[in-house]
Each structure stands twice: as C-alpha cells, then as structure tokens.
C-alpha cells in the first residue's frame, strides 16, 4: 500500500460525513425552494418558481438590502475599532501578547445570546445606563442598536486575522519605511496596510458572512422595523410554516454570499501556499 493511498483513506470518513450531512442537505434546500406546501403546511416538491418571484417583492427585497447594509456597517465598525486594537497588541504587546489576544477571544466564548441580552440589561428602558443617568433614553429598537450588537458579537473575527497578519509582518519593514523618511501615516499606508490586506480581507469576510445571516441581534436589540433576512427565514421555517419560501430566501441569501465565500477561500488557499512555501 503506497503512502498516498494510506493517507487518502483518512479522507473517507470525514468526507462522507460532510457529503451526507452538509452537501446533501443543501441540495434538499435547493429542491424545496422550488416546492410548495399542501393544505396542512407540509412541504411538497415541485416546480414553483413563484417562491423566487416573491423573494423579489419590494417588502422582501427591502429586508435583504437592510441585512446587507447592516452587515457592511458592522464590517466597517469592526475594522475601524479592531485594526488599532490588533495593531497595539501585535506591535506593543510584548510578553503580554498572548494574554491580550486571549482577552479579545474570551467574550466570544460567552454565549452569544447572553452577550446580546447583556446589552438589553445595559441599555434597556430599565437598564443600568438609564438608571445611572436617571433618564429615559431609547437606545434599543434602533438600527444602531442592531449594528452595535452585531459589531460586539463578531469583533473577534476581525481582530484575529488582522492580528495574525500584523504579527507575521517583519518589523524591519516598518523600520525601512521610517529610514526612507516616510512619516507615520505614509509608513502605515504604504507599508503596514498593504502587508495586512489579506488579514483585513479575511476579517471582512468572516464578519460579513455571519452578520448577514444573523437574526438574534435584530430580534433582541431591534424590532420589526430592523428585521433582517435571518428573521424572515426563521419565521418562515418555525412560525409561518412556509418552508419552500423560507428555503428560497435562504438560497437567494446564500447565492449573494457565495461571491464573498469564494473570495475568502481563494485568499485562504493562497495563504496556505505561502505558509507551506
């Protein structure tokens, strides 16, 4: 038995599992999205492209656009806040680097629902902030509450890849920028930023993808006016019992995200090649 065939055998169990429980379900999702429901609300297969026509109705398209808008705002905020933090840890962290990165990751391991709920406790009408201010400011049920919740939820996904890129970067490069009489801003723009572009790209995609599909933040921190496509999908599946329409919404969202996924996978593959080389 060649070494190659021996190792190839190791691909089988995991590969089969992913095929049966990941690829096949996506196929079913696609099939059901062209289906319909019987009188009891059970999903039936068939050819009903009307589901897709309905997705492009103005009310639903509005929700889709809102989801993308919120997710893009989340990405921008994560980058604006996360980049300086990653930079500080990578450049000035010294022997505290690992501790600081662990601190960045730590909130991520507090249950997402509990973290979101914590913001209700902070900013709600009877929350801590209004209690301290003795005021009645409405923070929640606004678009910014949802965007803030998403940013808080997915921050680690931006910081980690950016940090990894900054940490990998040779400090001598920044030195060289300075030696060539580059100011701090010029050094950053022409040396540091280009060198961390891949980390930034990875962070962008890793934040954008889950943010578009999120329904927790919009439901808990926002209201029906802030609902995202995830809320619609969840309603169709678990409340309205129109699975084919829910599936069509999911497929449309997924198709849109596919572009970003391909971007990320290509960048990840390139990175893997660079590490291997």
């Amino acid at each position: 038995m060649s070494e190659n065939r021996f190792a190839a055998g190791f691909l089988v169990p995991g590969g089969l599992w992913l095929l049966l429980l990941f690829v096949v379900p996506l196929g079913i999702l696609l099939a059901i999205s062209f289906g319909t429901t019987d009188d009891l609300g059970n999903a039936l297969y068939g050819w009903y492209p009307e589901n897709y026509e309905r997705v492009f109705d103005s009310i639903y398209i509005e929700v889709l656009a809102r989801s993308v808008g919120y997710a893009l705002a989340t990405v921008a905020l994560c980058a604006l806040v996360g980049y300086p933090v990653a930079y500080y840890i990578a450049v000035f962290g010294g022997r505290w680097k690992n501790v600081l990165i662990a601190l960045v990751v730590l909130p991520f391991f507090v249950n997402y629902l509990v973290r979101t709920y914590a913001w209700i406790a902070m900013l709600g009408d009877e929350g801590l902030v209004n209690g301290i201010l003795g005021d009645d400011i409405q923070f929640l049920n606004t678009p910014w509450a949802v965007i803030g919740g998403l940013t808080y939820g997915y921050m680690a996904f931006m910081i980690l890849p950016v940090y990894a890129a900054l940490d990998r970067m040779d400090p001598a490069l920044r030195e060289a920028g300075k030696d060539l009489y580059g100011g701090p801003w010029q050094t950053f723009r022409n040396v540091t930023l280009p060198h961390t572009r891949q980390g930034l790209l990875a962070g962008t995609v890793l934040v954008f993808l889950p943010a578009v599909g999120d329904f927790v933040a919009a439901q808990l921190l926002g209201g029906p006016d802030e609902y995202m496509v995830g809320n619609l999908i969840q309603q169709q599946f678990l409340a309205a019992d129109n699975w084919p329409f829910g599936a069509a919404l999911t497929v449309v969202m997924m198709t849109f995200l596919l572009i970003w996924m391909v971007l990320y996978l290509r960048s990840a593959a390139r990175e893997a090649r660079e590490v291997a080389a």
Binding site: L11, G14, F22, P25, P84, L113, V114, A121, M122, G127
Partner: protein
Amino acid sequence: MSSLAQADAPAAAPARRVAAKPPRDFDRPRFLRVFVGLFFVVMFAPIALVVLFSFNASRSLQNFDGFSLRWYERFFESETLRSSLLASIEIALITMVVATALGTLLAYGLVRARVRWSGAMNVLMLVPLVTPEIVAGTSALLLFTQVGLELSLTTIVLGHITFSISYVTVVVRARLAALDADVEHAAMDLGATRWKTFALITLPALWPAILAAGLLVFALSFDDFVLSFFTTGESPQPLPVRIWAAIRFGVTPTINAIGTFMLAISAVTIGLAIALPRLLGRRESGLGVLLGREGA
C-alpha cells in the same frame, strides 16, 4: 473617536528598533493605549454586569441590593433548566469526541495524501466554516424531516458534529504541516508499519492540537444556539434554546445566573485548551496551537 485612533495608529510604527526587543513603555502612543483600554472596558462591561447582577438579592438591574444566590437556586430548582443543562453537556461531549476523531483523520488525509480530489476535499472542509449558521440550521432541519428522523438530542448532535469537523481539521492540520514527515519515514525505515507509525509517532506529536481542538469544539457546541434552535425537539432542549425563549419574555435575573454559569463552564474549557498542551510538557501554548502558530 475610533477613526481618530486609526489615523493616529501609525505613529506607533517607527518606534520599534530591534525585532527581538519589545518597545519600551514610553514608546507607546498614549492615545492608542487609552483606546485599547476603552475597547476592553466596552467588551467586558456587559459581561461583568451579567455576572454581578446574577448575585443580586433583588430583581433590579439598576441597584445592587446585596449578595444572594437566589437566582442560582431558582436555576437549579427548575426541573426543565436542569435537564437542559445536562442535555447541553451531553451534546457537547458527544460532539467533541466524534468531531475530533473525524476532523483529525481528515487533517491527516489532507496534509499527507496527494490525490486528484484532495483539492475538492479541502474546499468541502472549508465551506462549513464560512456558511452562515442559519443556512446550516435550515438545511439540517430539512434533511432530518425528509429522512423521517424525529427531532431530538440526536439530530442536534448530528448537526453540531457536521459543523465542528472543520474547526478540528484546521487546528490539527496547522500542527501537522509543521511536523517533519521525515520522522515518520524514519519510523518506517526502522520497521514500523504505517498504522504503527501513525499511532506511535504522528498521533503523540499531534496531541496538543487534538486536545485544544476538542475543547474548542466542546465550548462551541455548548454555546451554540442557532443550529440547536432549528434541530431541537420538544424536550429536553439545550440551554441556549431555553434562554432564547426566556429572553423573549423580558429580562429576568435567572438568565443572569444561567449566563454566568455557562460562562464559567466555557472559561474552564478554554482555560484547559490553553493550559493542557503546556502541562503535557511541551513548549507551545494551547493558544498558539489554536491560532495555528508553533512554539508561541
């Protein structure tokens, strides 16, 4: 203010002289330090609030009226919540064991095998990582109902394993890629079979990564809400699904207690993931292993 800090961030760049020597304290731009400090305050304030008020004697979220364990009592006295906690732990344990085994094998195959379909395999492994959970949840729900599998803890476990395999593979693969294949060849030159080499040489070298990945999967599965939400049966439901139902009725201090308790379990798990590889007598830290770095 965030954009200000970003624009100013590069001022830090020229401060560094020698790669090995950490910059001295006065080299650090102060505003950047303040910014990072504020960042951590905002990240931890809500969590600290939940933990603190889980010990509050009253229902209030604005005033702390003395220390009490009454919300924890309420948590553990509830039959439903207790069974949910046990269900969550059971799901996470089974997911950890199965996904770690499958993911490790897959990592070995991806690194060592050169076959035509390894490229496709690699994509198949990476896609679940970037698939929004709601897509995973709805498609898993469709699969289970189509094959007539009743929704229960089993369906949740099946869903969790599917999305945990890739995490294990990514972590273990980074470690494996850093491992010199010549060591394995040497073992085989000395007469070991391929299986023996895998069991006696490769696996022991991968232990820190396998352990860290397993614990990571436990924490992710234990905390998972979306996948569980779509694949859960009536009862018992995992803890996060219960929390969701409770939050929608408004803020109650019992949720603070549940949240704090879950936080403790996650913290212990992640602490183990970081500390254990080091306790095994290796130089690297578990954090480095998880981040795919060697010898951190």
